[in-house]
């Protein structure tokens, strides 16, 4: 993969909701402005985020997992189980620092599309946004889980190695090492 990423990205009209504690918000906003997002919605707690979800149609939600008492996961879970259309289906990315042991199950079952582990970089963040934009996983509703189908293989980004129909495509994918979720591909 070349060091110089190719292709274009247009986030000028993307409706992005950022949910983060005060310390991380400024950093996130600066990164998203750099990506071209004009006015991301800034929310500092679950109540603000739920209110914004009722007001505006969103294209992506990016949450910092470090809100106290697992509030981030409660927000995602509540949104997924809500009747707020179409936002209950909106792609949700969680930026995860350390997850306390008593929050792990909540984090796993909240219904996020993708979790990115800190320390993050703009490159890693944009790569995951592009990945989510190409995602076509079905949305599942069960008694204990509402969110994107978790039964998917981590073979790299959609359209990457192994997704073609030719036998040689699959052979190429098999020859490559498994994708490290923290490894940058753009």
């Amino acid at each position: 993969m070349s060091d110089a990423p190719k292709g274009r990205v247009n986030l000028e009209k993307a409706a992005v909701l950022l949910l983060s504690p005060q310390t991380g918000m400024e950093l996130l906003v600066r990164v998203f402005h750099g990506f071209g997002v004009r006015q991301p919605y800034r929310c500092f707690n679950k109540a603000e985020a739920m209110e914004k979800c009722r007001e505006a149609d969103l294209d992506i939600i990016v949450c910092d997992g470090s809100l106290p008492e697992g509030e981030t996961y409660d927000f995602i879970s509540e949104l997924r189980r809500s009747d707020i259309e179409p936002n209950r289906y909106v792609p949700v990315m969680v930026i995860q620092g350390h997850t306390p042991k008593d929050q792990i199950q909540k984090a796993r079952d909240c219904g996020a599309n993708f979790v990115v582990a800190k320390p993050i970089t703009p490159r890693l963040l944009l790569e995951r946004i592009l990945w989510i934009a190409q995602e076509s996983r079905p949305f599942i509703e069960l008694d204990g889980y509402v969110g994107p189908d978790r039964r998917f293989q981590n073979l790299g980004p959609p359209g990457g190695p192994g997704t073609g129909r030719r036998r040689t495509d699959r052979a190429e994918a098999a020859a490559k090492p498994a994708v490290d979720p923290q490894e940058s591909i753009i």
Binding site: K13, F32, G34, F35, G97, P119, I132, I140, D143
Partner: protein, 153 residues
């Protein structure tokens, strides 16, 4: 058990590929440039957090309160937020290891000052990456992870 499967449209994909915008390289450069504007300020915050960790750590040598441990955890988590974005990934990994250690100690209702102390020293070393070569920094991170794994298995 009822399973409902839906295929909602991916709204992000509708906007992100619209002609216009910027190249991916430009988007990354712009994001980094925006961060560079607050680099000094953020590194100042980072240093202040590290000093707070050290001070709270020294106070916590013997019988720390639950608030002390939570305070250390929160500060370490904040270091993790900032470090990676400003080219200090090893410091971020060390902060993560300290978070993991504190979480394990908290859940086991025990305390291990030497393990915490070695993490505090590790943070100090990694906060100034110019003084340690990359392989040395990685060795420090690996060592902290081993301490964490061994102490609170």
């Amino acid at each position: 058990m009822t399973v409902i499967t839906r295929r909602p449209e991916n709204r992000l994909s509708k906007v992100i590929w619209v002609p216009g915008g910027k190249t991916i390289a430009q988007a990354l450069d712009d994001a980094q440039a925006n961060l560079e504007e607050i680099r000094l300020e953020s590194l100042g915050v980072l240093r202040a957090k590290l000093e707070e960790i050290q001070a709270l750590g020294r106070k916590s040598e013997k019988e720390p309160t639950a608030d002390d441990i939570q305070g250390l955890y929160n500060l370490s988590s904040e270091v993790l937020d900032i470090a990676g974005l400003f080219g200090l990934p090893e410091l971020g990994h060390a902060a993560f290891s300290l978070c993991e250690l504190l979480d394990r100690l908290k859940s086991r209702k025990t305390w291990n000052w030497p393990a915490v102390q070695v993490h505090l020293h590790g943070l100090l070393v990694l906060a100034d990456p110019d003084k340690t070569p990359p392989e040395g920094r990685q060795t420090v991170v690996d060592g902290l992870r081993q301490v964490c794994a061994r102490v609170a298995r």
